[in-house]
Amino acid sequence: MAEPLLSVRNLTVEFPSLHRIRPAVSGVSFDLGREKVGIIGESGSGKSTCGRAIMRLHPGRTRITADRMAFMGQDLLTLPERQMRAIRGHRIAMILQDPKYSLNPVMTVGEQIAETVILHERLPRRAARLRAMEMLEKVHIRDPERVMRLYPHEVSGGMGQRVMISMMLIAKPALIIADEPTSALDVSVRQQVLAILDELVTDSDMGLLFISHDLNLVRSFCDRVLIMYAGRVVEEIAAADLDRAQHPYTRGLLEALPSLTEPKDRLAVLRRDPAWEVGA
């Protein structure tokens, strides 16, 4: 078998703290090829921390260790920062969970996308503007001309997410780490954005790590799913088989889901079992 795009073995991430607390991520291992792999798991289970560790986006004092963290054969753990910068945003792109927060507040949306175009496609400014507009159209922003002139605080939640996605599309990375990329989108736009991501994976041979809380979405969109609990991967399963998951935590998640077609008065609340933390 060919080398996977991304290979992670025994990844552990610890944030420095006064108190001795358990690592935010511990002993996480997985491979990612040209496919869509979902990560689900409760809030605080370490999903974003995993994504940021791969990008080496954590504050300097964070302790990241792994037996292996390789991207296209390069060791991400030991790569000098200068080379890491060449990978970040170019070969690996991340769509962050809080889109508005990650945009520059004092620059218009259009300027920021154009800047990305200039960086990646080396187009002159005027052409970059046109290209930026084209990208906003591609992510189905209505009236891109107007939106280009807005500052991040003037765009709606869903528009902010799509601005981030358009910048990432320009960079044409080999691996996308998407952290809740569609949570602020209405269902029709979400469908369109997912179709774009789907196309990139199928046609451009890209790998996608898709962090999401939306079980229905992961089930219908991804190929495989990793389920995280308290910093560990407790189960890995083909997305289509999610309903047949075995781990009591995964079962609990499925039962906590509100359903449009089978409404219930109260939602089942997960009863956490300390045994789940001991290991998978």
Partner: protein, 251 residues
């Protein structure tokens, strides 16, 4: 509790909200769904007093609201929980400070106890009051935002995507919590969400918004059974059931 008549909001030449009418009874949960960018957050913002320029009339708990000025009592009456939990918390203020701030503004005493109670209510450990927003996960931040909205004991909660950053188990807890609070304290909600199952779970009636106006207001039962009149509403309902590859890929 809330009555909105012929509400219009423009940002420059962009006419965003184009004549919205809605009446929400005390203790009711009114859902609001619709296309991204159609003006849902703007409607909530106008009711909350964050959007300061609008035309039409808004009445809350019997008192008429004016676009530019609000009394403290009018502000306290309704609290908003935002879509973007990071943006709504000051990055250099501890959680404790974020929670005590509204109490200070409104001159409310007994702060320590209220802060602890607010954290308890949303299921966060009390020691989190010493943390900063960047030290919390997305879902933990959203729980702080809900705690902050509850701390003033408002009558109306304006909820803008309150659970879209939460995992389903915490979402279930928050939805149950919102249901309980409404029952115990008779709170009134206006709830914006893209997740139709979430909206249908809490709301008595659901307004479907497109291009700045309501195209349909459906009772909960109709949303569940699919007995809907507007094609856009039907499309939203269908789409909420999962991802469908487009025709191109199906070929």
């Amino acid at each position: 509790m809330i009555e909105v008549k012929d509400l219009h909001v423009s940002f420059g030449a962009n006419h965003v909200v184009r004549g919205v009418d809605m009446t929400v009874a005390a203790g009711e949960c009114f859902g609001l769904v619709g296309e991204s960018g159609c003006g849902k957050s703007t409607v909530l913002g106008a009711i909350a007093g964050r959007v300061k320029r609008w035309q039409g009339s808004i009445t809350a708990a019997g008192s008429a609201l004016r676009p530019e000025r609000r009394t403290l009592a009018q502000l306290r009456l309704q609290q908003m929980v935002f879509q973007d939990p990071f943006g709504s918390l000051h990055p250099r203020h501890t959680i404790g400070r974020a929670l005590s701030e509204p109490l200070e503004i409104h001159g409310i005493g007994d702060r320590e106890a209220r802060i602890e109670q607010a954290l308890d209510r949303v299921g966060l450990p009390r020691r989190f009051r010493f943390r900063y927003p960047h030290q919390l996960s997305g879902g933990q931040r959203q729980r702080v935002a809900i705690a902050r909205a509850l701390i003033l004991e408002p009558k109306v909660l304006l909820l803008d995507e309150p659970t879209s950053a939460l995992d389903v188990s915490i979402q279930a807890e928050i939805l149950n919590l919102l249901k309980d609070l409404r029952q115990q304290q008779g709170l009134t909600y206006v709830l914006v969400s893209h997740d139709m199952a979430v909206v249908a779970h809490l709301s008595d009636r659901i307004a479907v918004m497109q291009n700045g106006t309501f195209v349909e207001v459906a009772p909960r039962a109709a949303m569940i059974s699919g007995d809907l009149s507007h094609p856009y509403t039907r499309m939203l309902r269908e789409g909420s059931l999962g991802y469908r590859p487009t025709e191109k890929e199906a070929l």
